[in-house]
Symmetry: C2
Subunit: 253 residues, 2 copies
């Protein structure tokens, strides 16, 4: 018996020409041979260098473009531009996950609590003075907002600043995505709230307290306030079981 019983072969799928082009360009960007701000050769030159047709080059460029890695404009003699690395791709994938995987509001809120607690915790210790000023500005915008839309926008900016102050990019991206999806899910219900003013005033009060805790450097307090606020704000939209599970995260996390 040949000594091949330990090796495991994997199913091999055909590698298309455009994929090899994409891989080479991606590799060049990963190794630093191609840096943001630099240019790729023109399509005609690429098709000469890779030895493929124009269609193949274009398919590869479209894939790179949709991934947020390059941007090509018609008529640009310098060739496609290599873009700086941004979490746009991460955000798109997260968005798809949140929207496509039929997530429940309860799951999204659980996740928001998991994100916001640590976000406040870290922000209370890591925040710069500029970020503190941004939070003040967002709070002021919320106070001055007369319409729900403007209020909601300022609220989003406030949370975004908190997330950025945590110094963790994953928290920033996930918070943006999850917050956005949650707003989409309850958009209808929130608009027909009986007393939008009282809700806004209450939210404002919670934010003031949390911001004060952040300013004082009391991360644990800020985190607890944030979790409780989130629960109170959204609990009405959940079933009794879901409320219970969410409560666990609020009190014990």
């Amino acid at each position: 018996m040949a000594a091949t019983n330990k090796v495991r072969f994997q199913a091999v799928e055909p590698v298309r020409a455009y994929q090899r082009v994409v891989e080479q360009v991606e590799q060049a960007m990963l190794t630093g041979a191609l840096k943001p701000g630099e240019r790729l050769p023109s399509e005609r030159e690429l098709m000469a260098q890779f030895g493929v047709s124009r269609s193949t080059v274009r398919e590869a460029l479209r894939v790179l473009e949709s991934g947020g890695l390059v941007r090509s404009r018609p008529g640009d003699p310098h060739g496609p531009l290599v873009l700086p690395y941004s979490p746009a791709g991460l955000r798109k994938s997260m968005s798809r996950l949140a929207q496509l995987d039929q997530l429940s509001l309860a799951e999204l809120l659980q996740f928001r609590i998991m994100l916001e607690g640590p976000a406040y915790l870290l922000a209370a210790r890591m925040r710069t003075d500029e970020q503190l000023a941004e939070m003040d500005a967002a709070l002021a915008a919320m106070e001055q907002a007369s319409e729900l839309a403007a209020f909601s926008e300022a609220d989003l900016a406030f949370h975004d600043t908190i997330a950025r102050a945590s110094g963790n990019m994953l928290i920033v991206v996930c918070s943006q995505v999850v917050h956005g999806v949650v707003l989409d899910m309850i958009a209808g219900k929130l608009a027909q709230s009986p007393q939008p003013e009282s809700v806004m005033a209450e939210t404002l009060d919670h934010h003031r307290q949390a911001l004060a805790a952040v300013r004082a450097g009391d991360g644990a307090l800020a985190a607890r306030l944030a979790r409780e606020k989130l629960y109170e704000y959204y609990a009405d939209h959940l079933s009794a079981d879901e409320q219970t599970a969410l409560k666990w995260l609020v009190s014990e996390a």
Copy 2:
């Protein structure tokens, strides 16, 4: 003076033909009009329906394909296959950011702690008996593993079961992705560990304690154990500042 001083115009960038095709297909998948396992029309039919050339259709298909949404094979008369959601895209974009130093190991570990704490917390209360049996099986596999690779694989299965027991799909997917990326980042360093046996034994012991807490329904204890374990396991790879920040999350979260 015309009453146009309140409107804000945004810079408009050209929308390519292939982008509109991609958007329509993505939208159909998001709304559920196109479900996994179903087929897209053939390229020729697509080019008739969208009123664009085949090149454009193909560029759109390549983008969708690279995003893991569809798969097209040569000669398939049924057309491109609509794939079920996979976290591959999420993992790829996260890995890219990590490789490009836009995402530090410290951030990833922070995030893992944020995920695993609540995962254990929820799992301790929500787990079914079958999931508990799965955890036992994974633990047994870890005990029997002689090589690091098998041990690591069983460890991954253990954490995955915990995540699934939490009942939150976002936790499941994010845990898988982040865990995988962390393993990629420290793959080299871990292999040359001086005493892999002692590390494995220690990890095993931690897992036993955490599993016991889950079995007993003590979510708070399980979560604390998980956070501490994670810190002890990876702290060596972090700078002093990063260790301090991580410690905050371990103790106060």
